[in-house]
Amino acid sequence: MSRIFKVGGLVSDVGRRTAIAVALALGVAGMSLPAVAGDEDLWPSLRKEVFGERAIVEGDGLIVIDAPERAEDAAIVPITMRVPPSVKGALKSLTLIIDQNPAPVAAAFTFGPAAGDGGGERRMTTRVRIDTYSYVRAIVETSDGTLHMAKTFVKASGGCSAPAPKDIDGASSDLGKIVVKSFDPALETTPLREAQIMIRHPNINGLQMDPVTRAYTPARFVKTMTVNRGEDLVFRVETSISISSDPHYRFTYANTKNNELDVVAIDTDETEFKGETRHKGL
Protein backbone atom coordinates (compact mmCIF):
# COMPACT_ATOMS: atom_id res chain seq x y z
CA MET A 1 0.00 0.00 0.00
CA SER A 2 1.41 3.33 -1.01
CA ARG A 3 1.99 5.71 1.82
CA ILE A 4 2.43 9.41 1.80
CA PHE A 5 5.59 10.43 3.57
CA LYS A 6 5.98 14.02 2.53
CA VAL A 7 3.57 16.65 3.66
CA GLY A 8 2.15 19.39 1.50
CA GLY A 9 3.19 17.70 -1.73
CA LEU A 10 1.69 18.22 -5.14
CA VAL A 11 -2.06 18.33 -4.93
CA SER A 12 -2.94 16.02 -7.74
CA ASP A 13 -0.23 13.59 -6.81
CA VAL A 14 -1.30 13.38 -3.21
CA GLY A 15 -4.93 12.99 -4.18
CA ARG A 16 -4.19 10.25 -6.65
CA ARG A 17 -1.88 8.35 -4.36
CA THR A 18 -4.34 8.61 -1.52
CA ALA A 19 -7.10 7.20 -3.67
CA ILE A 20 -4.89 4.35 -4.77
CA ALA A 21 -3.89 3.65 -1.20
CA VAL A 22 -7.51 3.46 -0.21
CA ALA A 23 -8.51 1.30 -3.12
CA LEU A 24 -5.77 -1.12 -2.19
CA ALA A 25 -6.67 -1.05 1.46
CA LEU A 26 -10.32 -1.78 0.76
CA GLY A 27 -9.61 -4.46 -1.76
CA VAL A 28 -6.86 -6.33 -0.04
CA ALA A 29 -7.02 -5.62 3.62
CA GLY A 30 -10.45 -4.08 4.07
CA MET A 31 -11.32 -6.47 6.84
CA SER A 32 -8.01 -6.53 8.65
CA LEU A 33 -8.30 -5.91 12.34
CA PRO A 34 -6.92 -2.57 13.46
CA ALA A 35 -5.30 -4.29 16.42
CA VAL A 36 -3.41 -6.57 14.08
CA ALA A 37 -2.37 -3.74 11.78
CA GLY A 38 -1.06 -1.90 14.83
CA ASP A 39 1.36 -4.70 15.57
CA GLU A 40 3.36 -4.17 12.42
CA ASP A 41 6.44 -2.11 13.13
CA LEU A 42 6.53 0.55 10.45
CA TRP A 43 8.88 2.85 12.32
CA PRO A 44 12.27 1.68 10.94
CA SER A 45 11.27 2.39 7.34
CA LEU A 46 9.34 5.49 8.27
CA ARG A 47 12.26 6.87 10.21
CA LYS A 48 14.62 6.32 7.28
CA GLU A 49 12.18 8.02 4.94
CA VAL A 50 11.81 11.13 7.09
CA PHE A 51 15.17 11.50 8.86
CA GLY A 52 17.59 9.44 6.77
CA GLU A 53 20.48 8.04 8.79
CA ARG A 54 20.45 10.75 11.47
CA ALA A 55 20.65 9.61 15.10
CA ILE A 56 17.54 10.07 17.22
CA VAL A 57 17.74 10.02 21.02
CA GLU A 58 14.59 8.54 22.52
CA GLY A 59 13.10 9.36 25.89
CA ASP A 60 15.76 11.78 27.17
CA GLY A 61 13.09 14.19 28.40
CA LEU A 62 13.79 16.95 25.90
CA ILE A 63 10.36 16.35 24.42
CA VAL A 64 7.21 14.99 26.04
CA ILE A 65 4.07 13.91 24.19
CA ASP A 66 0.60 13.79 25.75
CA ALA A 67 -2.25 11.91 24.08
CA PRO A 68 -5.27 10.02 25.37
CA GLU A 69 -4.53 6.33 25.76
CA ARG A 70 -7.76 5.62 23.98
CA ALA A 71 -9.24 8.07 21.51
CA GLU A 72 -12.93 8.60 22.19
CA ASP A 73 -13.33 10.21 18.80
CA ALA A 74 -10.62 8.96 16.44
CA ALA A 75 -11.29 11.86 14.06
CA ILE A 76 -10.43 14.45 16.75
CA VAL A 77 -7.57 13.31 18.97
CA PRO A 78 -5.89 16.15 20.88
CA ILE A 79 -2.09 15.79 20.99
CA THR A 80 0.14 18.03 23.09
CA MET A 81 3.92 18.19 22.67
CA ARG A 82 5.91 19.81 25.46
CA VAL A 83 9.49 20.90 25.78
CA PRO A 84 10.33 21.27 29.49
CA PRO A 85 11.78 24.49 30.94
CA SER A 86 15.12 22.75 31.54
CA VAL A 87 15.72 22.81 27.81
CA LYS A 88 17.34 26.16 27.08
CA GLY A 89 17.74 27.80 23.70
CA ALA A 90 15.75 27.77 20.53
CA LEU A 91 13.97 24.84 18.94
CA LYS A 92 14.56 24.30 15.25
CA SER A 93 11.82 21.91 14.32
CA LEU A 94 9.18 19.54 15.62
CA THR A 95 7.72 16.62 13.67
CA LEU A 96 4.53 14.77 14.61
CA ILE A 97 4.24 11.26 13.22
CA ILE A 98 1.40 8.73 13.42
CA ASP A 99 2.97 5.44 12.36
CA GLN A 100 -0.11 3.63 11.09
CA ASN A 101 -1.86 6.49 9.29
CA PRO A 102 -2.04 6.59 5.48
CA ALA A 103 -0.12 9.89 5.76
CA PRO A 104 2.12 9.24 8.78
CA VAL A 105 3.71 12.69 8.97
CA ALA A 106 0.86 14.69 10.42
CA ALA A 107 2.72 17.96 10.88
CA ALA A 108 6.26 19.31 10.51
CA PHE A 109 6.88 22.56 12.40
CA THR A 110 9.85 24.87 11.95
CA PHE A 111 10.25 27.63 14.52
CA GLY A 112 11.40 31.23 14.11
CA PRO A 113 12.75 33.86 16.47
CA ALA A 114 9.32 34.85 17.81
CA ALA A 115 8.76 31.32 19.15
CA GLY A 116 10.99 32.22 22.11
CA ASP A 117 14.05 30.45 23.43
CA GLY A 118 12.93 29.12 26.77
CA GLY A 119 12.12 30.59 30.14
CA GLY A 120 9.29 28.15 30.65
CA GLU A 121 7.63 25.11 29.20
CA ARG A 122 7.06 25.38 25.46
CA ARG A 123 3.95 23.67 24.16
CA MET A 124 2.25 22.83 20.89
CA THR A 125 -1.19 21.25 20.82
CA THR A 126 -3.08 20.14 17.74
CA ARG A 127 -5.82 17.63 16.86
CA VAL A 128 -5.25 14.64 14.64
CA ARG A 129 -7.03 11.76 12.99
CA ILE A 130 -5.83 8.32 13.98
CA ASP A 131 -6.82 5.48 11.70
CA THR A 132 -5.94 2.49 13.83
CA TYR A 133 -4.01 1.49 16.97
CA SER A 134 -0.76 3.34 16.50
CA TYR A 135 2.32 4.88 18.00
CA VAL A 136 2.28 8.64 17.87
CA ARG A 137 5.71 10.28 17.94
CA ALA A 138 7.09 13.75 18.39
CA ILE A 139 10.65 14.39 17.23
CA VAL A 140 12.21 17.70 18.15
CA GLU A 141 15.36 19.15 16.64
CA THR A 142 17.23 21.46 19.00
CA SER A 143 19.48 24.33 17.96
CA ASP A 144 22.57 22.07 18.10
CA GLY A 145 21.04 19.96 15.35
CA THR A 146 20.36 16.85 17.45
CA LEU A 147 17.08 14.92 17.27
CA HIS A 148 15.08 13.83 20.32
CA MET A 149 11.97 11.68 20.34
CA ALA A 150 9.05 10.83 22.61
CA LYS A 151 6.34 8.36 21.69
CA THR A 152 3.01 7.17 23.03
CA PHE A 153 0.55 4.50 21.96
CA VAL A 154 -3.00 5.52 21.10
CA LYS A 155 -5.87 3.08 20.71
CA ALA A 156 -8.13 4.49 18.05
CA SER A 157 -10.00 3.25 15.06
CA GLY A 158 -11.34 4.76 11.87
CA GLY A 159 -10.19 8.35 12.28
CA CYS A 160 -9.12 8.72 8.66
CA SER A 161 -12.00 6.94 6.98
CA ALA A 162 -14.51 8.83 9.14
CA PRO A 163 -16.73 11.08 7.08
CA ALA A 164 -15.21 14.38 8.09
CA PRO A 165 -18.14 16.66 8.79
CA LYS A 166 -20.95 15.31 10.95
CA ASP A 167 -23.23 17.84 9.35
CA ILE A 168 -22.07 17.49 5.80
CA ASP A 169 -24.02 20.41 4.34
CA GLY A 170 -23.36 22.80 7.19
CA ALA A 171 -19.60 22.44 6.86
CA SER A 172 -18.67 24.51 3.82
CA SER A 173 -20.48 27.74 4.63
CA ASP A 174 -17.53 29.56 6.19
CA LEU A 175 -14.58 27.74 4.59
CA GLY A 176 -11.24 29.27 5.45
CA LYS A 177 -12.39 31.43 8.33
CA ILE A 178 -9.49 31.77 10.78
CA VAL A 179 -9.91 32.69 14.43
CA VAL A 180 -6.71 33.69 16.27
CA LYS A 181 -6.57 34.44 19.96
CA SER A 182 -3.60 35.43 22.08
CA PHE A 183 -4.06 34.89 25.80
CA ASP A 184 -2.62 37.40 28.25
CA PRO A 185 -0.39 35.66 30.80
CA ALA A 186 -1.04 36.14 34.52
CA LEU A 187 2.29 37.94 34.81
CA GLU A 188 3.14 40.58 32.26
CA THR A 189 6.85 39.73 32.46
CA THR A 190 6.43 36.00 31.75
CA PRO A 191 8.81 35.06 28.90
CA LEU A 192 6.20 32.94 27.12
CA ARG A 193 2.55 33.45 26.37
CA GLU A 194 -0.06 31.28 24.70
CA ALA A 195 -2.14 31.64 21.55
CA GLN A 196 -4.72 29.61 19.68
CA ILE A 197 -5.52 29.30 15.97
CA MET A 198 -8.68 27.73 14.56
CA ILE A 199 -9.15 27.27 10.82
CA ARG A 200 -12.54 26.41 9.35
CA HIS A 201 -11.61 23.79 6.79
CA PRO A 202 -12.98 20.24 6.23
CA ASN A 203 -9.48 18.90 5.44
CA ILE A 204 -11.02 16.40 3.04
CA ASN A 205 -8.68 13.45 3.04
CA GLY A 206 -9.63 11.81 -0.26
CA LEU A 207 -10.65 8.61 1.51
CA GLN A 208 -14.40 9.02 1.11
CA MET A 209 -16.32 7.73 -1.84
CA ASP A 210 -19.18 9.81 -3.19
CA PRO A 211 -22.06 7.32 -3.05
CA VAL A 212 -23.69 8.79 -6.15
CA THR A 213 -20.73 9.09 -8.51
CA ARG A 214 -18.76 6.23 -6.91
CA ALA A 215 -15.68 8.43 -7.23
CA TYR A 216 -13.46 9.44 -4.34
CA THR A 217 -14.06 12.98 -3.20
CA PRO A 218 -10.74 14.65 -4.10
CA ALA A 219 -8.47 15.44 -1.19
CA ARG A 220 -8.45 19.07 -0.16
CA PHE A 221 -6.62 20.02 2.99
CA VAL A 222 -4.56 22.77 4.55
CA LYS A 223 -0.96 22.05 3.57
CA THR A 224 0.95 24.95 5.10
CA MET A 225 0.40 27.58 7.72
CA THR A 226 2.71 30.46 8.61
CA VAL A 227 2.40 32.38 11.87
CA ASN A 228 4.22 35.69 12.22
CA ARG A 229 4.54 38.31 14.92
CA GLY A 230 5.32 41.45 13.00
CA GLU A 231 8.30 40.62 10.79
CA ASP A 232 9.33 37.66 12.92
CA LEU A 233 8.35 34.07 12.30
CA VAL A 234 6.72 32.25 15.19
CA PHE A 235 6.43 29.00 13.29
CA ARG A 236 5.60 27.53 9.95
CA VAL A 237 3.97 24.12 9.66
CA GLU A 238 3.47 21.70 6.79
CA THR A 239 0.49 19.46 7.37
CA SER A 240 -1.19 16.40 5.90
CA ILE A 241 -4.62 14.73 5.95
CA SER A 242 -3.75 13.39 9.40
CA ILE A 243 -4.77 16.76 10.86
CA SER A 244 -8.46 16.84 11.91
CA SER A 245 -11.01 18.89 10.07
CA ASP A 246 -11.10 22.48 11.34
CA PRO A 247 -7.36 22.47 12.12
CA HIS A 248 -6.61 23.68 15.60
CA TYR A 249 -3.34 24.83 17.22
CA ARG A 250 -2.59 26.00 20.75
CA PHE A 251 1.02 27.04 21.32
CA THR A 252 3.43 29.13 23.32
CA TYR A 253 5.48 31.98 21.86
CA ALA A 254 7.71 34.78 23.12
CA ASN A 255 5.89 37.34 25.24
CA THR A 256 6.84 40.93 24.34
CA LYS A 257 5.17 44.33 24.04
CA ASN A 258 3.59 43.58 20.70
CA ASN A 259 2.04 40.14 20.65
CA GLU A 260 -0.31 40.44 17.68
CA LEU A 261 -0.15 37.50 15.29
CA ASP A 262 -0.71 37.19 11.55
CA VAL A 263 -1.65 33.82 10.14
CA VAL A 264 -1.60 32.66 6.52
CA ALA A 265 -2.81 29.19 5.61
CA ILE A 266 -2.75 27.63 2.15
CA ASP A 267 -4.67 24.53 1.15
CA THR A 268 -3.99 21.99 -1.59
CA ASP A 269 -6.21 23.97 -4.01
CA GLU A 270 -3.69 26.81 -3.51
CA THR A 271 -6.38 28.89 -1.86
CA GLU A 272 -4.95 31.31 0.70
CA PHE A 273 -6.68 32.04 3.99
CA LYS A 274 -5.69 34.83 6.40
CA GLY A 275 -6.32 35.59 10.03
CA GLU A 276 -4.99 37.79 12.81
CA THR A 277 -5.42 38.47 16.50
CA ARG A 278 -7.97 41.12 17.24
CA HIS A 279 -6.85 44.15 19.14
CA LYS A 280 -8.59 43.98 22.45
CA GLY A 281 -10.02 47.01 24.16
CA LEU A 282 -9.10 49.51 21.44
Binding site: L33, A71, E72, D73, G158, S161, A162, K166, I168, V179
Partner: protein
Protein backbone atom coordinates in the same frame (compact mmCIF):
# COMPACT_ATOMS: atom_id res chain seq x y z
CA UNK B 1 -27.06 4.12 20.74
CA UNK B 2 -24.73 4.33 17.92
CA UNK B 3 -21.65 2.38 17.56
CA UNK B 4 -19.95 4.24 14.83
CA UNK B 5 -17.66 2.25 12.74
CA UNK B 6 -15.57 5.27 12.14
CA UNK B 7 -14.89 5.58 15.80
CA UNK B 8 -15.46 2.08 16.98
CA UNK B 9 -13.67 1.40 20.17
CA UNK B 10 -12.40 -2.11 20.15
CA UNK B 11 -11.35 -1.69 23.73
CA UNK B 12 -14.94 -1.06 24.73
CA UNK B 13 -15.62 -4.75 24.80
CA UNK B 14 -13.34 -5.28 27.76
CA UNK B 15 -14.43 -7.70 30.41
CA UNK B 16 -14.64 -5.06 33.13
CA UNK B 17 -17.09 -2.97 31.17
CA UNK B 18 -19.24 -5.96 30.42
CA UNK B 19 -19.21 -7.15 33.96
CA UNK B 20 -20.64 -3.89 35.16
CA UNK B 21 -23.62 -4.41 32.92
CA UNK B 22 -24.10 -8.08 33.53
CA UNK B 23 -26.82 -7.90 36.20
CA UNK B 24 -29.15 -5.93 33.90
CA UNK B 25 -28.45 -8.12 30.96
CA UNK B 26 -29.20 -11.17 33.04
CA UNK B 27 -32.43 -9.74 34.31
CA UNK B 28 -33.54 -8.85 30.82
CA UNK B 29 -32.67 -12.21 29.39
CA UNK B 30 -34.67 -13.85 32.15
CA UNK B 31 -37.60 -11.66 31.19
CA UNK B 32 -37.20 -12.70 27.61
CA UNK B 33 -37.06 -16.35 28.60
CA UNK B 34 -40.25 -15.94 30.57
CA UNK B 35 -41.83 -14.45 27.49
CA UNK B 36 -40.81 -17.53 25.52
CA UNK B 37 -43.04 -19.65 27.71
CA UNK B 38 -46.15 -17.68 26.77
CA UNK B 39 -48.26 -19.89 24.61
CA UNK B 40 -49.84 -18.71 21.43
CA UNK B 41 -53.25 -19.06 23.04
CA UNK B 42 -52.25 -16.85 25.90
CA UNK B 43 -51.10 -14.31 23.38
CA UNK B 44 -54.29 -14.42 21.32
CA UNK B 45 -56.42 -14.18 24.41
CA UNK B 46 -54.48 -11.14 25.49
CA UNK B 47 -54.88 -9.53 22.11
CA UNK B 48 -58.61 -10.04 22.03
CA UNK B 49 -58.99 -8.84 25.56
CA UNK B 50 -57.30 -5.59 24.45
CA UNK B 51 -57.06 -4.76 28.09
CA UNK B 52 -53.45 -5.65 28.58
CA UNK B 53 -51.44 -2.61 27.49
CA UNK B 54 -48.21 -4.59 27.47
CA UNK B 55 -47.70 -8.14 26.43
CA UNK B 56 -44.89 -10.23 25.20
CA UNK B 57 -45.17 -12.89 22.61
CA UNK B 58 -42.78 -15.46 21.28
CA UNK B 59 -43.98 -18.30 19.06
CA UNK B 60 -42.27 -21.65 19.40
CA UNK B 61 -42.10 -23.10 15.92
CA UNK B 62 -39.39 -25.69 15.46
CA UNK B 63 -36.76 -24.77 12.85
CA UNK B 64 -37.96 -21.23 12.35
CA UNK B 65 -36.04 -18.31 13.87
CA UNK B 66 -37.28 -17.54 17.35
CA UNK B 67 -39.23 -14.31 17.69
CA UNK B 68 -38.24 -11.19 19.59
CA UNK B 69 -40.25 -10.28 22.63
CA UNK B 70 -42.56 -7.35 21.93
CA UNK B 71 -44.91 -5.14 23.88
CA UNK B 72 -48.14 -3.81 22.41
CA UNK B 73 -47.94 -0.22 23.60
CA UNK B 74 -51.13 0.87 21.81
CA UNK B 75 -53.59 -1.07 19.65
CA UNK B 76 -51.59 -2.48 16.74
CA UNK B 77 -48.34 -0.80 17.84
CA UNK B 78 -45.65 -3.26 18.93
CA UNK B 79 -42.23 -2.40 20.34
CA UNK B 80 -39.24 -4.58 21.07
CA UNK B 81 -36.95 -3.06 23.68
CA UNK B 82 -33.21 -3.30 23.02
CA UNK B 83 -30.65 -3.86 25.77
CA UNK B 84 -28.67 -1.00 27.33
CA UNK B 85 -25.37 -2.32 26.03
CA UNK B 86 -22.78 -1.93 23.30
CA UNK B 87 -22.87 -4.47 20.50
CA UNK B 88 -21.42 -7.84 21.48
CA UNK B 89 -21.51 -11.46 20.32
CA UNK B 90 -23.82 -12.17 23.29
CA UNK B 91 -26.44 -9.52 22.51
CA UNK B 92 -26.06 -9.95 18.72
CA UNK B 93 -26.71 -6.25 18.18
CA UNK B 94 -30.05 -6.31 19.99
CA UNK B 95 -29.42 -2.94 21.63
CA UNK B 96 -31.94 -0.54 20.08
CA UNK B 97 -35.73 -0.46 20.09
CA UNK B 98 -37.49 -1.87 17.02
CA UNK B 99 -41.19 -1.42 16.34
CA UNK B 100 -43.96 -2.42 13.97
CA UNK B 101 -47.44 -1.10 13.31
CA UNK B 102 -50.24 -3.26 11.96
CA UNK B 103 -52.90 -1.72 9.72
CA UNK B 104 -55.92 -3.31 8.01
CA UNK B 105 -53.94 -3.84 4.81
CA UNK B 106 -50.28 -3.75 5.66
CA UNK B 107 -47.53 -3.66 8.24
CA UNK B 108 -44.78 -1.06 8.67
CA UNK B 109 -41.54 -1.69 10.55
CA UNK B 110 -39.71 1.15 12.29
CA UNK B 111 -36.02 0.25 12.74
CA UNK B 112 -34.75 -3.28 12.36
CA UNK B 113 -32.18 -3.69 15.16
CA UNK B 114 -28.46 -4.29 14.86
CA UNK B 115 -27.99 -7.49 12.86
CA UNK B 116 -29.61 -9.63 10.20
CA UNK B 117 -30.28 -12.34 12.78
CA UNK B 118 -32.09 -10.06 15.21
CA UNK B 119 -33.94 -8.55 12.22
CA UNK B 120 -35.11 -12.05 11.31
CA UNK B 121 -36.43 -12.52 14.83
CA UNK B 122 -38.26 -9.21 14.54
CA UNK B 123 -39.76 -10.58 11.34
CA UNK B 124 -40.83 -13.72 13.20
CA UNK B 125 -42.43 -11.59 15.90
CA UNK B 126 -44.47 -9.79 13.22
CA UNK B 127 -45.56 -13.07 11.72
CA UNK B 128 -46.63 -14.19 15.18
CA UNK B 129 -49.09 -11.31 15.21
CA UNK B 130 -50.27 -10.95 11.62
CA UNK B 131 -49.97 -12.39 8.12
CA UNK B 132 -50.53 -9.02 6.44
CA UNK B 133 -47.83 -7.90 4.02
CA UNK B 134 -44.88 -5.91 5.32
CA UNK B 135 -45.04 -2.93 2.98
CA UNK B 136 -42.69 -0.47 4.63
CA UNK B 137 -39.40 -0.67 6.49
CA UNK B 138 -38.63 2.75 7.94
CA UNK B 139 -35.26 3.71 9.41
CA UNK B 140 -35.24 6.56 11.92
CA UNK B 141 -31.56 7.32 11.12
CA UNK B 142 -28.30 5.79 9.88
CA UNK B 143 -26.81 4.06 12.93
CA UNK B 144 -26.02 0.37 12.53
CA UNK B 145 -27.98 -0.73 15.62
CA UNK B 146 -31.12 0.55 13.86
CA UNK B 147 -30.52 -0.53 10.26
CA UNK B 148 -28.47 -3.73 10.08
CA UNK B 149 -31.60 -5.89 10.37
CA UNK B 150 -33.01 -4.36 7.15
CA UNK B 151 -31.79 -7.31 5.12
CA UNK B 152 -34.15 -9.66 6.98
CA UNK B 153 -37.10 -8.02 5.19
CA UNK B 154 -35.82 -8.21 1.63
CA UNK B 155 -38.07 -11.13 0.67
CA UNK B 156 -41.12 -9.00 1.55
CA UNK B 157 -39.99 -6.46 -1.06
CA UNK B 158 -40.99 -3.48 1.09
CA UNK B 159 -40.31 0.17 0.42
CA UNK B 160 -37.32 1.13 2.56
CA UNK B 161 -38.13 4.61 3.83
CA UNK B 162 -35.70 7.17 5.27
CA UNK B 163 -34.71 10.82 5.58
CA UNK B 164 -33.56 12.27 2.25
CA UNK B 165 -30.01 12.42 3.59
CA UNK B 166 -30.03 8.83 4.85
CA UNK B 167 -28.94 7.33 1.56
CA UNK B 168 -25.79 9.42 1.29
CA UNK B 169 -24.99 9.12 4.99
CA UNK B 170 -25.27 5.33 4.96
CA UNK B 171 -23.47 4.86 1.66
CA UNK B 172 -20.53 6.94 2.89
CA UNK B 173 -20.22 4.91 6.05
CA UNK B 174 -21.22 1.49 4.73
CA UNK B 175 -17.75 -0.06 4.68
CA UNK B 176 -16.71 1.19 8.08
CA UNK B 177 -20.07 0.31 9.68
CA UNK B 178 -19.91 -3.24 8.36
CA UNK B 179 -16.28 -3.67 9.32
CA UNK B 180 -16.66 -2.43 12.88
CA UNK B 181 -19.93 -4.25 13.52
CA UNK B 182 -18.43 -7.48 12.30
CA UNK B 183 -15.65 -6.94 14.83
CA UNK B 184 -18.00 -6.12 17.68
CA UNK B 185 -20.59 -8.81 16.97
CA UNK B 186 -18.27 -11.56 15.85
CA UNK B 187 -18.69 -13.53 12.63
CA UNK B 188 -21.59 -15.67 13.81
CA UNK B 189 -23.87 -12.91 15.10
CA UNK B 190 -22.92 -10.62 12.19
CA UNK B 191 -23.62 -13.20 9.47
CA UNK B 192 -26.07 -11.96 6.85
CA UNK B 193 -25.95 -8.33 7.95
CA UNK B 194 -25.68 -5.78 5.19
CA UNK B 195 -26.45 -2.16 4.46
CA UNK B 196 -29.78 -1.85 2.66
CA UNK B 197 -30.18 1.70 1.40
CA UNK B 198 -33.53 3.49 1.49
CA UNK B 199 -35.64 3.31 -1.67
CA UNK B 200 -38.02 6.09 -0.63
CA UNK B 201 -36.38 9.33 0.49
CA UNK B 202 -38.52 11.67 2.56
CA UNK B 203 -37.88 15.25 1.46
CA UNK B 204 -40.71 16.99 3.22
CA UNK B 205 -43.60 15.18 4.86
CA UNK B 206 -44.75 11.77 3.75
CA UNK B 207 -47.84 9.82 4.75
CA UNK B 208 -47.83 6.03 4.46
CA UNK B 209 -51.22 4.32 4.34
CA UNK B 210 -51.51 0.98 6.15
CA UNK B 211 -55.29 0.71 5.81
CA UNK B 212 -57.33 2.35 8.52
CA UNK B 213 -54.30 4.15 9.85
CA UNK B 214 -51.45 6.09 8.40
CA UNK B 215 -47.91 6.92 9.44
CA UNK B 216 -46.65 10.45 8.97
CA UNK B 217 -42.88 10.70 8.39
CA UNK B 218 -41.11 14.03 8.97
CA UNK B 219 -37.42 14.61 8.21
CA UNK B 220 -35.57 16.81 10.73
CA UNK B 221 -32.65 19.21 10.55
CA UNK B 222 -29.29 18.04 11.93
CA UNK B 223 -29.66 16.95 15.55
CA UNK B 224 -28.70 13.44 16.74
CA UNK B 225 -27.45 12.88 13.17
CA UNK B 226 -28.04 14.75 9.92
CA UNK B 227 -30.70 12.22 8.89
CA UNK B 228 -33.21 11.92 11.75
CA UNK B 229 -36.78 11.01 10.78
CA UNK B 230 -39.80 11.34 13.10
CA UNK B 231 -42.82 9.06 12.59
CA UNK B 232 -46.33 9.51 13.98
CA UNK B 233 -49.00 6.81 14.02
CA UNK B 234 -52.11 8.92 13.57
CA UNK B 235 -54.54 6.23 14.74
CA UNK B 236 -53.08 6.01 18.25
CA UNK B 237 -51.21 9.32 18.37
CA UNK B 238 -47.96 7.46 19.04
CA UNK B 239 -44.76 9.35 18.29
CA UNK B 240 -41.60 7.49 17.23
CA UNK B 241 -38.55 9.65 17.86
CA UNK B 242 -35.77 7.18 17.07
CA UNK B 243 -32.54 8.34 18.68
CA UNK B 244 -33.81 11.88 19.04
CA UNK B 245 -34.95 10.43 22.36
CA UNK B 246 -32.73 8.40 24.65
CA UNK B 247 -33.89 7.22 28.04
CA UNK B 248 -31.67 5.41 30.59
CA UNK B 249 -29.00 4.93 27.85
CA UNK B 250 -26.81 8.06 27.63
CA UNK B 251 -27.61 10.16 24.52
CA UNK B 252 -24.89 10.12 21.88
CA UNK B 253 -24.17 13.13 19.67
CA UNK B 254 -23.30 12.45 16.04
CA UNK B 255 -24.79 15.58 14.51
CA UNK B 256 -25.18 18.91 16.27
CA UNK B 257 -25.78 19.56 19.96
CA UNK B 258 -27.22 22.99 19.14
CA UNK B 259 -29.51 21.52 16.52
CA UNK B 260 -30.63 18.78 18.87
CA UNK B 261 -31.40 21.15 21.74
CA UNK B 262 -33.43 23.47 19.55
CA UNK B 263 -35.32 20.52 18.07
CA UNK B 264 -36.16 19.33 21.59
CA UNK B 265 -37.62 22.76 22.37
CA UNK B 266 -39.76 22.47 19.29
CA UNK B 267 -40.81 18.87 20.02
CA UNK B 268 -41.84 19.73 23.57
CA UNK B 269 -44.65 21.89 22.18
CA UNK B 270 -46.19 18.93 20.34
CA UNK B 271 -48.91 16.71 21.67
CA UNK B 272 -48.83 12.91 21.59
CA UNK B 273 -50.42 10.11 23.57
CA UNK B 274 -47.05 8.43 24.04
CA UNK B 275 -43.56 8.36 22.64
CA UNK B 276 -41.34 5.43 21.65
CA UNK B 277 -37.64 6.23 22.22
CA UNK B 278 -34.76 4.80 20.18
CA UNK B 279 -33.24 3.51 23.41
CA UNK B 280 -35.30 3.19 26.57
CA UNK B 281 -38.62 1.68 27.65
CA UNK B 282 -41.05 0.60 24.89
CA UNK B 283 -43.26 3.62 25.49
CA UNK B 284 -43.07 6.76 27.59
CA UNK B 285 -45.18 9.71 28.56
CA UNK B 286 -44.89 12.73 26.29
CA UNK B 287 -43.43 15.34 26.51
CA UNK B 288 -42.16 14.52 30.01
CA UNK B 289 -39.92 11.82 28.53
CA UNK B 290 -37.77 14.53 26.93
CA UNK B 291 -36.77 16.14 30.23
CA UNK B 292 -33.82 13.97 31.26
CA UNK B 293 -32.23 14.12 27.83
CA UNK B 294 -32.70 17.89 27.60
CA UNK B 295 -31.05 18.24 30.98
CA UNK B 296 -28.06 16.15 29.89
CA UNK B 297 -27.55 17.94 26.58
CA UNK B 298 -28.04 21.41 28.01
CA UNK B 299 -25.63 20.65 30.87
CA UNK B 300 -23.01 19.48 28.38
CA UNK B 301 -23.56 22.59 26.25
CA UNK B 302 -23.45 25.07 29.12
CA UNK B 303 -20.42 23.46 30.82
CA UNK B 304 -18.52 23.30 27.52
CA UNK B 305 -19.42 26.92 26.70
CA UNK B 306 -18.15 28.00 30.10
CA UNK B 307 -14.84 26.16 29.59
CA UNK B 308 -14.41 27.67 26.13
CA UNK B 309 -15.05 31.14 27.54
CA UNK B 310 -12.35 30.45 30.14
CA UNK B 311 -9.91 29.54 27.34
CA UNK B 312 -9.80 25.90 28.43
CA UNK B 313 -8.88 23.13 26.01
CA UNK B 314 -10.82 20.20 24.64
CA UNK B 315 -8.78 17.79 26.78
CA UNK B 316 -9.60 19.76 29.92
CA UNK B 317 -13.27 19.79 28.98
CA UNK B 318 -13.23 16.02 28.50
CA UNK B 319 -12.14 15.64 32.12
CA UNK B 320 -14.64 17.98 33.74
CA UNK B 321 -17.74 18.85 31.68
CA UNK B 322 -21.17 17.63 32.80
CA UNK B 323 -19.87 14.98 35.20
CA UNK B 324 -22.85 15.85 37.40
CA UNK B 325 -24.91 13.78 34.95
CA UNK B 326 -22.90 10.62 35.50
CA UNK B 327 -25.26 8.89 37.93
CA UNK B 328 -28.28 9.41 35.70
CA UNK B 329 -27.21 7.39 32.66
CA UNK B 330 -26.12 3.92 31.65
CA UNK B 331 -23.03 3.68 29.44
CA UNK B 332 -21.97 7.15 30.59
CA UNK B 333 -18.27 6.22 30.72
CA UNK B 334 -18.49 4.73 27.25
CA UNK B 335 -19.91 7.74 25.42
CA UNK B 336 -19.71 10.88 27.51
CA UNK B 337 -16.17 11.99 26.66
CA UNK B 338 -16.90 11.63 22.98
CA UNK B 339 -20.06 13.72 23.40
CA UNK B 340 -18.04 16.44 25.09
CA UNK B 341 -15.41 16.32 22.35
CA UNK B 342 -18.06 16.63 19.65
CA UNK B 343 -19.85 19.43 21.50
CA UNK B 344 -16.58 21.31 22.08
CA UNK B 345 -15.61 21.14 18.38
CA UNK B 346 -19.02 22.57 17.48
CA UNK B 347 -19.41 25.20 20.19
CA UNK B 348 -15.89 26.66 19.98
CA UNK B 349 -16.93 28.31 16.71
CA UNK B 350 -19.76 30.31 18.32
Amino acid sequence: MEKLADRSRLEGKGAGRRKALAPDAELLSREIEAAHSLSRRTFLAATFALAAPVLRYVPARAGAPSALSVSEVAPGVFVHQGLYEEQSPQNRGDIANASFIVGKDAVAVIDTSGSFKVGRELHAAIRGVTDRPIKYVINTHMHPDHVLGNAAFKADRPDYVGHHKLQRALAMRADSYLQSNKLMLGDEAFEGSEIVLPTVLVEDKLSLDLGGRSLVCEPQKTAHTDNDLIITDTATDTLFLGDLLFSVHIPTIDGSIKGWLSLLDELATRKAARVVPGHGPPAMEFPGALDAERKYLSTVASDVRKLIADNKTMSEAAKTAALSERADWKLFDTFHVRNVTTAFAELEWD
